[in-house]
């Protein structure tokens, strides 16, 4: 309790509280304990599960969901929801595929082959634009987030289908003589034996944590999600915050789309269908409140790992994919149930604090 930044973080559903109540500890750290339990159970059930190689493979699957979920977390902290991220993920891959095939400018009679970094930047910019549309609809035109992003979800998916006419781009590796190779790097290469996708996830997690805990924007986000009216009257630019979180979510979706299409070495217009729901589930399992204002990056990452390690584990031990769906659903319902238990307790003044508070003169 000596350091304010530590204790401020603690007050936002930290992983380890400094109380000694086992029940409280299990409740607060539930995502972490669930992950440990999943790893232990599957390690017993399959000899292949517990190995560094398998963990890294699973982590590169998790990275896609985790990146989406971190963008989603920002939106949920603001009290909103973003249903368009799955579609944005798909469109991002399509745009990358489209650019990699070469852009023919008929008027000039040339075909441009943008290099990979240009492709990446343009895809991310596209994600930001989708987010901007969401944000403006919600912040300026007061369209409920659920409806606005639902509409954008369909529109974006439709655009992806229109661009490819429903087909899939299969050649994303580029050609050395055109100078646009390297797209596979994102999905296949490893740095220090860690897949690039996982590293990207870690970088986004660090940036996200710093932003949430150490910048004014982060404080504005927590405040406007916790009580928008109070935040506005305190001088928080609530509309700008709202638009920016949807843009961040769009960029995260675009990045996830690039990594996924690189991993698959193909970009299909239906990629990422229903991923938005997995992302929301990860955020919720991570302890964030759908009403806004509560949640953190660490919890969301854990949530993504719980979902990813559970479904990969079920695949490894050979359980039918129908059962996987049932299990995943059960985990989500349980997570929401525990969230309700946790925040119900929080709503009342902490009984432990009261004697201090009345006894100690300020």
């Amino acid at each position: 309790m000596s350091n304010t930044s530590q204790t401020l973080q603690r007050s936002r559903s930290g992983l380890f509280s400094d109380g000694f109540d086992i029940g409280q500890m299990l409740l607060k750290g539930r995502a972490f304990f669930a992950l440990i339990a999943i790893i232990i159970v599957f390690s017993f059930l399959s000899p292949y599960y517990f190995s560094v190689g398998n963990f890294l493979t699973m982590a590169s699957h998790v990275a896609i969901y985790a990146i989406l979920a971190m963008g989603m977390l920002l939106v949920i902290l603001n009290g909103g929801i973003d249903l368009s991220v799955g579609s944005t993920l798909g469109l991002s891959g399509i745009i990358a595929g489209f650019l990699m095939q070469g852009v023919t400018l008929k008027a000039l009679g040339v075909t441009l082959y943008p290099s990979v970094w240009v492709v990446v930047v343009l895809s991310c910019a596209l994600g930001a634009v989708v987010g901007l549309v969401n944000g403006v609809l919600i912040a300026r035109f007061k369209v409920p987030a659920f409806v606005a992003t639902l509409g954008v979800m369909y529109v974006v998916r439709g655009i992806a289908l229109l661009i490819t006419n429903g087909l899939t781009y299969n050649n994303l590796s580029g050609q050395a003589d055109l100078g646009n190779t390297g797209f596979n790097w994102l999905g296949f290469n490893r740095l220090f034996n860690v897949p690039i996708g996982v590293l990207v996830m870690i970088v986004i997690a660090i940036i996200g944590s710093l932003m949430l805990n150490r910048t004014a924007f982060g404080r504005w986000l927590y405040a406007s999600g916790g009580n928008e009216r109070a935040a506005e009257l305190s001088g928080v630019p609530t509309k700008r915050v709202q638009i920016l979180v949807y843009m961040a979510s769009g960029v995260c979706a675009a990045i996830a789309g690039l990594i996924l299409s690189s991993q698959l070495t193909s970009a299909g217009p239906t990629a990422g269908t229903s991923y938005e729901l997995t992302a929301i589930a990860a955020v919720v399992i991570g302890g964030a409140a759908l009403t806004g204002g509560r949640g953190n990056i660490r919890g969301t990452l854990l949530g993504a790992f719980v979902i990813g390690f559970l479904s990969d584990g079920l695949v490894i031990i050979g359980i039918s994919s129908y059962w996987q769906t049932v299990f995943t659903g059960g985990v989500i319902v349980l997570a929401v149930l525990l969230n309700a238990v946790q925040y119900k307790k929080r709503a009342k003044p902490a009984p432990k604090a009261s004697p201090q508070q009345t006894g100690k003169p300020a």
């Binding site: 927590y222 916790g226 109070a230």
Partner: protein, 511 residues
Amino acid sequence: MDQLPSSYLAPDVVLSARDVVKSYGNTHALKGVNFDIHRGKVTTLFGENGAGKSTLMKILSGVINPTSGTITLDGKPVHFANSTEARDHGISIIHQELSLAPNLSVRDNIFMGREIMTPTGVNFAEEARQAQLLMEELEEEIDPLTPVEELRLGQQQIVEIARALSVDSRILIMDEPTSALSASEVEVLFKVIRDLTARGVSIVYISHHLEEALQITDYAVVLRDGNITATAEARDIDLEWIVRNMVGENFDLGSPPTGYEFGEVALSIRDISVPGALPDTLSVDHLSLDVRAGEIVCIYGLMGAGRTELLECVAGRVQKAGGQVLLEGRDVSRLTIAQRIAEGLALVPEDRQRDGLVQTMSVGENLSLASITNFVRGLFLSTGLERSLIQQSIKDVTVKTSGGEAPIGSLSGGNQQKVVIGKMLATHPRVIMLDEPSRGIDVGAKAEVFKLLAERAKTGLAVIYSTSEVGECLSIAHRIVVMSRGKIAAEFSADATKEEIMAASGEAVVA
């Protein structure tokens, strides 16, 4: 609604509350109240905001349960688990805040929850017929099929009254029924009340319009700080008696700070208008007011006088219909809330929970929220700077808390209010506006808040606060501005009397 049995008509007590206590944690809303309702008479409950009137009425109508004490109906002790049970005993309440479903019709609202059923469904025709009869009785030309949201506020109040009448109540509690009514509607209401009492219905009436209430009532009961301070028959008393008992001997809330000269005009409100809830109405009507640096101005007025609208408009929350706001000579009318705060104009809103605090954040995070950009060094917040501000603020505004990291919900109402004030003071304002800063906080915290403001005024801060409690006008304010119907009705210096101020606010004006 036939004549009630004759046994009801005896002029005695139909319902009585004995030693009723209601506590919320450490705050006692009612401290052992004895209250009688006389059969076929109007009993009016007088008292300032926060005196406990609404709490007592909610207990009598089963909305909330008392912490201790007994309620006796017709000589038998009763216990209401909820308002439906109280209604089954013939006790109805018309709340201050209307409890109508705006999307439903007048008919559906009147019969909500006790629809007239036939084997094949709701008997809408019979409901409509009865609703029509009620409307005729209340002399209100409203089609029972009109959606409530299309009615004027006064008409909505009539619908609420009709609903209470439709259940054949023996005891009807009216909490501020006239605050939204026009003069002619008040007359109709009074006629209805006289009809009802003639039929043996007992009425409990609550109003801030003292003289109006005195017209209709048979008994007067005065409540102050959770205690009954006086009871009398209406024919024995006058307005002055009510005011004297309502206000009582004041807890010392301080006096205007002296020993310094006011500075230049810090805030100049020029000809400000704010649109009202209904088209073509103004909740603030071409109002002008100057406040100088170091000056403390109190804005007094009844509910609906336009105080909140004025302050929120000046702060930038509410769009104005016209006029200008000058802060130290600079026009800030077109700036956003954030820009006005940066310029030195801060508002402490009326509703702490809704507009003042972020419940999901800690005490410290709430305190630093409005001034958070001051702690940014490079990209990131300086934790050290923020922490020292939080500690300084906790000390300056005397928040009693275990520390900056305590959850905001762990504080008492008064300390929460100090956090909201501290948050805005941390932005180093030139002008601070406080909308009902004493609402829902105990008298000790009230005095501390006022002391704090008086000290800040000495350093050149211009302070404007609004209140609906006359005792608070005559505390630290150098000047008292009385608002009524969106306009300044009168201005007083610090040596005005309570009676003068209350008279000017329209409280003593007969409809």
